[in-house]
């Protein structure tokens, strides 16, 4: 693919979901904040074409709560809005913490929830015009035998670029689903967030078909007394991609004072998709808030090694993943009950 630096695309501004969906059927690319799309088009990762800008579609903006405490967050809600919402912070603290920690204030102000989930990965080969790979129509992965210092440690398939979305990690921990208006039928379909990604497909970073429109993420209502924590480990303190990122969410008995009844642990930066760690989740049941995790949790953390299949240069991420999960588990047990 050639570099198209400088070409000016035609942009249509839609004001409704139906209008945007029509433009997409005509072959337009959806532009949300544009922070990833613009650089991908410039680098030749996404073929240039007419754009439909979603910024003026009010239906896509902000959280909408239903009576039972479940919420739908519109795809065009900015990452900064998500990070500043007090009701979301109370109900889903792990999600809001992940939103506040990613990228830079400028990016968070522009980037959207939908764009964050559907952004392309940050492999140093992907945006470099000197290389072709599975993701740009080629038939190999130069990173696997080349420079893959920041790549996966759980090797799910031919591409070894970790999934870039921090929000996906947190949303996975909260059992979120995504609401998509499908191209063609125009029908609104809701499916688990995990189904948005396929780690074994090396050609793309999410499975939505061209023309599909992500309209919202849906979060289930939570029982009271939950606790959560988020942690990202990176080589620099700001404007840096995490090497490993984790969100832990605990449901506890007796309005949060009693032992853990259900845990979810999601990690990012380690595989082609965000991952849940069911072994650690099971081991956490019975842990007591305010106390250090017990032996069963220690054993489950040890067993993370068996989940890992490091590349020659990513062995360090095994230790980093174990240490990060341990740390975030301890933080969640110490967190105030919500």
């Amino acid at each position: 693919m050639t570099t198209q630096r400088g070409t000016v695309p035609t942009v249509t501004r839609s004001t409704s979901v139906a209008g945007a969906a029509r433009e997409l059927v005509e072959g337009a690319l959806p532009r949300a904040g544009g922070t990833d799309l613009v650089t991908c088009v410039e680098a030749g990762v996404i073929a240039p074409g007419p754009l439909v800008d979603l910024v003026d579609v009010p239906e896509l903006r902000g959280p909408r709560w239903d009576g039972d405490g479940a919420v739908r967050i519109g795809a065009m809600t900015s990452v900064a809005e998500l990070g500043a919402d007090p009701l979301l912070a109370e109900a889903y603290p792990g999600l809001v913490a992940a939103a506040r920690a990613l990228a830079t204030p400028q990016i968070r102000g522009t980037a959207t929830v939908g764009g964050n989930l559907l952004q392309r990965n940050r492999c140093p080969y992907l945006r470099n015009p000197a290389f072709e790979c599975f993701q740009t129509g080629g038939d190999s992965c130069p990173a696997r035998d080349g420079d893959h210092l920041r790549a996966v440690v759980v090797d799910l398939g031919p591409c070894v670029a970790p999934h870039p979305s921090s929000l996906a990690v947190a949303l996975l921990a909260y059992d979120a689903s995504v609401v998509v208006v499908e191209r063609g039928s125009g029908a609104e379909v809701e499916r688990d967030l995990a189904e948005l990604y396929d780690g074994t497909d090396p050609t793309r970073d999410h499975v939505l078909a061209p023309g599909d429109l992500l309209v919202a993420v849906a979060l289930p209502a939570l029982v009271s007394g939950g606790r959560a924590a988020h942690l990202r480990v990176a080589g620099r303190s700001r404007a840096e991609w995490p090497l490993v990122e984790a969100v832990v969410r605990l449901e506890c008995a007796e309005e949060g004072r009693g032992p853990v009844t259900r845990a979810s642990v999601a990690v990012g930066g380690v595989a082609r998709t965000p991952l849940r760690l069911p072994g650690v989740e099971r081991a956490l049941v019975g842990s007591v808030p305010g106390r250090a995790p017990g032996e069963e949790v220690d054993r489950a953390l040890e067993a993370i090694v068996e989940l890992c299949s490091p590349l020659p240069a990513t062995g360090y991420k095994v230790d980093l993943l174990q240490a990060t999960v341990r740390d975030v588990v301890e933080r969640a047990l110490d967190a105030p009950a919500g």
Partner: protein
């Protein structure tokens, strides 16, 4: 000194060894420190200056850069017992050293 932090912790040209193509060709992949990576820094000036330079001027330049890597390397040794011998002091190197 901030440049010294970059030299010690972040800055690194990374190439694809098969083709020789430089991979670290932008400021996302060629890492330099940001404000959050630099501690509060006190700067002392040697006010007498150099006798042999007119006006007593002292060139700073590299002099202020090189000591930072040694100081950070010593700090890592002091904190962990592992002495690094390669720059930058990357997370993977530190973890490898501690194994």
């Amino acid at each position: 000194m901030v440049q010294g932090v970059g030299y010690a912790l972040h800055e690194e040209r990374r190439d694809d060894l098969g083709t020789g193509v430089v991979l670290s060709d932008d400021l996302e992949d060629y890492r330099i420190p940001g404000m959050g990576d630099v501690p509060e820094t006190e700067v002392y000036f040697h006010e007498e200056g150099f006798e042999h330079v007119a006006g007593g001027g002292v060139g700073l330049g590299e002099v202020s850069v090189v000591g930072v890597a040694a100081a950070l390397g010593n700090a890592v040794y002091d904190a962990t017992g592992w002495r690094p011998h390669d720059l930058p002091l990357r997370p993977d190197r530190l973890i490898g050293g501690l194994r």
